[in-house]
Symmetry: D2
Subunit: 400 residues, 4 copies
């Protein structure tokens, strides 16, 4: 359980910090000016991606031969760094959700043909992707509720259903959707679901609208689409794995996805602490810098104390995933999924407050970071579902 | 200390409830579709205002001969009702901030000429107004920090400065700005400030941009403007009161403004509780309605328990303002300013969570209500300033 | 809904304040020296009771002809005052639990003979009493779980069972126990229970030990006894009401009992705020009084804001009980039972912290007050039970 | 930063677990029956100490030649285990505060003669000791406030002052007090203090009384004494280090002392989680085990998530102390001092609540564990002092 940076991590960390300082932070203002309802990536992103790639900061998230080959423990501090500028840095490095999960999924479960057609251009940064799981009408944290149907018809599958909050799906570069649906509603609970590749331009795929998160449309990320699948037909070979594998594939996808979110959340919190400290030392009220106020000091101390604990748990989780696998790290993945969003939301709230009116505005990244943290208390299943599940495991320890 | 509704309140309450049911709630969807960056009121508002006026639901906030003549205690349950649909109902009744505070101010401190020129059309709903106090560069919760200058030059005053978060200022109907600045920076701390009427179309007044609150631009309310005053000249008779009266006028304005916010916050919380209860009884997860989950029940119970307490303190404050005046109610006004936003923010957070992804989206009013509550932890001075002040009063009780 | 003090309340309030100042507070030190394991009332109590009675401050809790005849709303501010010194003042006024509930019960449900034998000496202060409901082996917040049996045998009832946390039962003055048990376990859920009068010296009644609350044995109150009832025989006429009435009687008893606790809790919080304010203005650390520290100011402000809200809800509940009855006030009684202990516990925690090591010691009343508040999160059913019940009522409002 | 158990730790951990299971837990009931006001160790302790020593579980806390020679990282999981039964296990292993800090101090700063006279019998378990720093009249978290005087008079020092909360001082085995006082009040702030060895039976040392913590007198630990030093004379060679070294010695003592408390707190929390889980799976209310209730599950999940984070921070701190020294670990020591007591207090509160009335009583260790955690929010300086200090360090990072 050694969490120290090794040589590889140290090297990437230094190079990534330099990239952030020179290229990413300076681009944030341009990003913040992204026009409403424009679903294209901000122009600056293409240049950032080229630069990152030239610097060898590309696909760092992906273990194995297809990516940078880092362990989770090596990647964690790098993902944390990208969390300091989460609107730009992950995408600049081709390490942004949901592409990362989709690439992992294709690398692990895709056929050679699927990998060639979709994984290669994704890894190469030529296209983007989306993952269509959440449905408006059912509690999607329980996959058995999914109502979208995927029905075999000769050499094709026919897909019908409605999805929403499909992040990135309105980005014009988004070429491929991975759709979760049911191939056999009569099968055993966790064998009903399948996943299938649906090119975004397939007839019958209709983008209805972009969903908002607390006023943001996240257009620069391709938004969060509501999509209707109406008699959408794709070749049978677009199925990922076999019929009924959908739930298992989905579970495999979630572990890394969750820890990546948590790693980035820590970076978001560090950015917030830095901004808060800089603000309170420079802002004067009632004759003294805000930093002299006991309540403000309390926020700062508590933020530091919380984030130090949280980071260590994320690192331990990464180490467990590397050593005993995602399954063996199940409880810890759940624990950080529970702890990270609410902890970081709390810190961001204090940083917002320390900034006064500016804190809720477009003049700092804090309000949007807060929304990202808040939304993660819901994404991939609300906290309450994870708490209940973790509690049952704990209870089982003492009653078996 | 009798908080029961009297006959007048009961009558207004019934009529206002009916107006909300028939006209306001049905108009919410049209309002929610208000286009980004459009600073005009949504078209539906004009019809709502006409209807409200026809029903005698107009200027309810204003005591005395100019308005409906209600006491604060009578107005409180009505303002609470408008808080259930805060984006539309207050404006429909000509009871929206900042117009309300500006009308009170003109009614109390305006000259006959000022009242004729600005108060009458405001009361009549022909124009709207804004209040320009907050500045980006200083902690404006401490009025002595204000840097905008108001300098006498012959028969005119010349105004220079920069303001931001000037709510409503981009509404094309906004005809008049009340600007807070300093006429004499060398005077005693609370005699340096003055307030002056500046028609929005005066040369030198430049709207720079709209400030956001989280991802909202609040365009339907005329946004929150950043404004530069560059050598703006207005006649000397535009000054409100005498030179140096600005701080005192501002204090007089704040009491009613704060309690109105708190009354509406309670209505927002009641709306949230209703939406939460309806949602959890209809939504099923893991085979049971969400309402069966202990954690969800805990949210609902705690919400009810908190809001009942809060409402009573707001009513007591209203009663004190009516009986011993705003000055005598100072501590209670501060107490509700501290308690209401954070309490209601907490309730809204739970209502959002109970709605899942839909809760952060444009499909319920909850996310925007949350932002309104959160922002009120900062507006009119951050909570921390009010807590400190209230603590000092409490400490003084035991040491004098 | 008029919460102002009337003439009667004002008069009692002044007289009770004077009694506290002159007699109760000065006696606290003697009380604090009460020896461990001594279950007799502290000697000072007899003098206090005589003095209180002489001043007409006696049985204030009891409405109707038997007591002072006050309404709940009139009694609330008086009970609050006694909460400032809860170990002495309520007992001094013959207004201490569980005697109060027992006297109410006998006044309402007792036969003339029962009232003559037990109510009269209780009202007269010649004896004390206890209420034996809670059992160690079952969740007693659900009365259907009670296992103690009360079996008719000729002209007698025979009682077998084990009770604990029977407050006051070891006080040598405690002459009578009201015991809750089951007369018919096969009856409908809420008709199985009965209540019966058991003189404490009846053969078969064995006091096993005193239960502690944190480190306190509350000996000065007669402790919290564990009691075995082994073949205890009492005359059949000792039954209160009819067989099967036990649950209903118990419910009738709980409403006033709960609100009395809540009234006193507010007095405890006021005492804590006073002690905290006095402490922080006199104690210096790092060169300044503690009162100058922002965090301490935050505690004080938050304490004041919370207690003002809580008091109003308690008053409203009292007013409802007076006007629509305990049944009509059910939700509000539940709300204050939920809100008061945790709110006051929070305030006491801060007062303890402000006192440093002295705060946890016997040198201030704060630690013991804290335990009283903490224990009330459990007594009469844990918070969680009341929250769930209140939530169900709220949910029913929106689904019927 | 490798936190895994090494071979040594694994071996000790297994042996210590076995010792706890076989000897310590079974002795808890006897300990709980310790009579009030009896300051002698419970009889069972001598047997436990003999057994522990025979098993080689002795002085594990002490690095270097005098003790077991473990690193902090090796000791941490062992101290955690002792925290599961904190009233018996640490003392059984001769690893209880304040002896541990006193032994470290003598090992590091004592002269050979001092070590021979006091350290040897302490290590050998023949005597016990106390550390007399806290004073009732001043904020002792700021050592510059200390008022006890230590004045040179010929070959002796004369000590005058009043101390309180001197843990263990009433244990008849307590032979030696280390007293903190001022030798030169006119010196530079941190050179005024000295520490001196005072045999407890020295004339002029008067034990006034035992201080309580929430009703407990902690008699089995020798209580928390209030002590008057009135013209107490000891030989000059009893001074530890040189005049003016007192503050520095005290700082050196605090680091290990604090982390030991934190390690044990984690064990206390683990015990609480185990008891809570066992309770809620066996206790039935309203027809279901408590474990089925969502709110209870929430407590369990949150407890697990918090304690996992906290443990990792304690381990990191231990590792830092081992690798960069106590000074280099200053911020982390402060962070765990802030985080551990309040986190564990929260968990204990939930475990108490899950046990109902039994949870606050002497029938489980929970209430007393809660008091231990609560008191540690004050001991060695209140949380607020440490938060402020940590905040200043954080602020300095961003402004230098």
């Amino acid at each position: 359980m050694d969490f120290a940076f090794d040589e590889t991590t140290r090297d990437y960390h230094a190079r990534l910090s330099d990239f952030l300082d020179r290229h990413v932070y300076p681009a944030e203002a341009a990003y913040a000016a992204h026009p409403r309802g424009d679903w294209r990536p901000p122009p600056v992103l293409a240049a950032l991606r080229a630069e990152a790639r030239a610097r060898g900061l590309w696909n760092l998230f992906l273990p194995g031969e297809h990516g940078a080959g880092l362990t989770n423990l090596q990647y964690a501090p790098l993902a944390e760094l990208t969390g300091r500028s989460p609107a730009l840095a992950p995408a600049a490095l081709n390490c942004a959700a949901p592409d990362t999960g989709n690439m992992e999924l294709l690398a692990e479960f895709g056929t050679p043909a699927q990998r060639k057609e979709w994984l290669e251009p994704l890894l190469d940064g030529r296209i983007r992707s989306a993952f269509a799981m959440t449905e408006p009408d059912v509690a999607s944290s329980d996959a058995t509720n999914i109502t979208t149907s995927i029905v075999r018809d000769g050499d094709e599958y026919v897909i019908n259903g409605r999805k929403w909050f499909i992040t990135g799906a309105m980005n014009p570069d988004c070429a491929i959707l991975i759709v979760m649906g049911k191939t056999d509603p009569s099968a055993e609970r966790h064998r009903q679901q399948s996943q299938i590749l649906v090119p975004r331009d397939t007839p019958g795929v209709t983008i209805v609208r972009g969903m908002h998160t607390f006023g943001y449309d996240d257009g620069a990320h391709g938004g969060h689409a509501e999509i209707i699948f109406d008699g959408v037909r794709v070749p049978a070979e677009n199925l990922i794995g076999a019929e009924g594998d959908g739930f298992a594939i989905s579970q495999a996808r979630l572990g890394p996805g969750r820890i990546h979110h948590c790693m980035r959340l820590i970076g978001m919190a560090e950015r917030a602490i830095e901004l808060m400290c800089r603000r309170v030392t420079s802002r004067v009220a009632f004759g003294r810098p805000l930093a002299d106020q006991g309540v403000v000091q309390d926020w700062i101390a508590e933020s530091r104390v919380r984030i130090e604990q949280l980071r260590l748990l994320v690192l331990k989780t990464a180490w467990l995933m590397d050593t005993v696998g995602n399954r063996g790290a199940h409880t810890e993945i759940q624990a950080i999924k529970i702890a990270a969003p609410s902890t970081v939301e709390w810190i961001l709230d204090k940083a917002v407050q320390a900034h006064g009116a500016g804190g809720v505005s477009q003049d700092t990244p804090l309000a949007q970071l807060w929304v990202a943290a808040r939304t993660l208390r819901l994404a991939d299943g609300p906290d309450e579902v994870h708490r209940r599940s973790l509690a049952r495991r704990e209870l089982a320890r003492w009653t078996s």
